[in-house]
Amino acid sequence: MLHAKRSALYWFIVPALIAITAIIAFPWAFTLWMSLFDWKIGSASTFTGLGNYVALLTDRRFIEAIGHTLFFTLLAVIGPLLLGTVAALVFNQKFPLRGFVRGLFTLPMMATPVAIALVWTMMFHPQQGVLNYLLSLVGIAPSEWVYSPRLAIPCLVMVDIWQWTPLVMLIVLGGLASMPADPFEAAYMEGASRWQTFRYITLPMILPFVMIAAVVRLIDALKTFDTIYVITQGGPGTASETINLYLYLQAFSFYQVGKASAVVVVFFVIVVALSLMLFWMRERSKWND
């Protein structure tokens, strides 16, 4: 009787499994398969084995794209992590209109990225942009912003930090909300200073949540596309071309489907490797306590 009920439950999952196989698992398998072919859309495909991968290793532009991606990711993980944790500590305090203010703070991550990127593009404009005016108010010379090869990535990171700090804040705030009150009361009784309470009680307790936020942020930062595509298209030149933009170019401008598939596989390996590294760091940080 009960056994029959269990098998009935499997039928609940079947439609979703079919859908996921079609739109998620099939693309994975097909990508792996295509990466072994020299194939441009519209012409015949020839089997090249690992040829696409070997070609990528010697493609200077691809290697540079990996460098840009890692640089962007490093800044776009650390920035939101620091600011988001501080914001969570602040929003954990009680103050009037807290709900509304917190909602306002989370707006950037819910807003349509393309719409936001267009507004930032106008703000970055070297002549008419509002940012250079704001710099002039505090006596700083106008900047080229995203039009300078050297500043393009840091400027894009700035947009990313603006957009994704709220997500880190929400995750860490969830951690703060689940903390027990006892250790804080004990610390208060013992006369611990605020800094001591933070350093020895709050920080160790929220660290697991900060690490979760770090993993989420890492994955999203590596995958960033909309903002970069809209604001710089990978430019000036290829100064802000990340793996994702290189991939888009190969696939949908040059229609080099085989090569692009190989890029996807390499990209996926990088995402998984870096995520595992963070998980490993998280385990390490536990042992040290």
Partner: protein, 272 residues
């Protein structure tokens, strides 16, 4: 005295934290309401001499904005509805079978860049002759909506107490009836939040439409990028269009921010 200083300090920090978010949106609003002369003036005009709705009128008159809006509503609406129909029963099955390992597929999908789904699907849609219709866009948007719904809703089902369902079992209800008439009504808040988040992230998505949409099947984010480029159109209408696209999402976020916060922290899920 110390208390007062504390409160002032807190107010100051809160102000510093929210001002970047608030000022970018306010600047967007300001650009959309000013005349082109004011928008291109240097130093920038913060308080306009006259407020105009001409930019919004230009968006509706010079572009087929309403048909793009309809595309977006159809794509995100259908992608969310189909994902609900398929995903909510699956979420229930996963929760009751304690088959959380199945969610691993969803986590790995979360780690895969959206473009990597596009290459095989684009090839497939071309072979099937589906390009130029909304169908491929709806299907690819399910890559965003389905994982969000399965992930959040299965988590919600797990938190529901089992007693009511056991009572239904005693009364001789079938598994489907137990799901349909007992568990699903209880899980409605979770399902609602998941549906809203799925809709928003589908609405915001750019890359699927950018690759798959033809001239007539563009969704709003693709349309504002493709149609309203800087060469063709002035800043005012561009800001107005950007605001029109994102305003529904922003309002929704502010109205139900408490529920959305719960849903987001449950999974840290985001599409694409």
């Amino acid at each position: 005295m110390k208390k007062l200083l504390d409160r002032l300090g807190l107010a100051f920090v809160v102000l510093v934290l929210v001002s970047p978010a608030a000022s970018v949106f306010l600047w967007m609003l300001s650009l959309s309401l000013k005349t082109e002369t004011d928008n291109l003036a240097y130093p920038p005009v913060f308080i306009p001499s006259s407020v105009t709705l001409a930019n919004f009128r230009a968006v509706f008159e010079q572009t087929p904005f309403l048909s793009y809006l309809l595309n977006s509503i159809v794509v995100s609406g259908l992608a969310t509805l189909i994902a609900l129909a398929v995903g909510v029963p699956a979420a229930y099955g996963i929760a009751r079978l304690k088959a959380r390992k199945l969610l691993l597929v969803i986590l790995i999908a979360r780690m895969t860049p959206a473009i990597s789904f596009l290459i095989p699907l684009f090839t497939l849609f071309q072979a099937l002759g589906l390009t130029g219709t909304l169908t491929p866009i709806v299907i690819t948007h399910m890559v965003i909506t389905l994982p969000i719904i399965v992930y959040i809703v299965s988590g919600y089902f797990e938190t529901l107490p089992g007693e009511l369902e056991e009572a239904a079992l005693m009364d001789g209800c079938s598994t489907w009836q137990r799901f349909r008439h007992v568990a699903m009504p209880l899980a409605r808040p979770g399902i609602t939040v998941a549906a809203i988040l799925a809709f928003i992230f589908s609405w915001n998505n750019f890359v699927f439409g950018a690759v798959l949409a033809g001239r007539a099947t563009r969704t709003l984010p693709v349309a504002i990028y493709n149609v309203l480029t800087f060469e063709q159109i002035a800043w005012g209408p561009l800001a107005a269009a950007a605001l029109l696209v994102t305003a529904p999402v922003l309002l929704l976020t502010l109205v139900i921010q408490k529920e959305i916060v719960g849903g987001l922290t449950a999974g840290g899920v985001k599409g694409g």
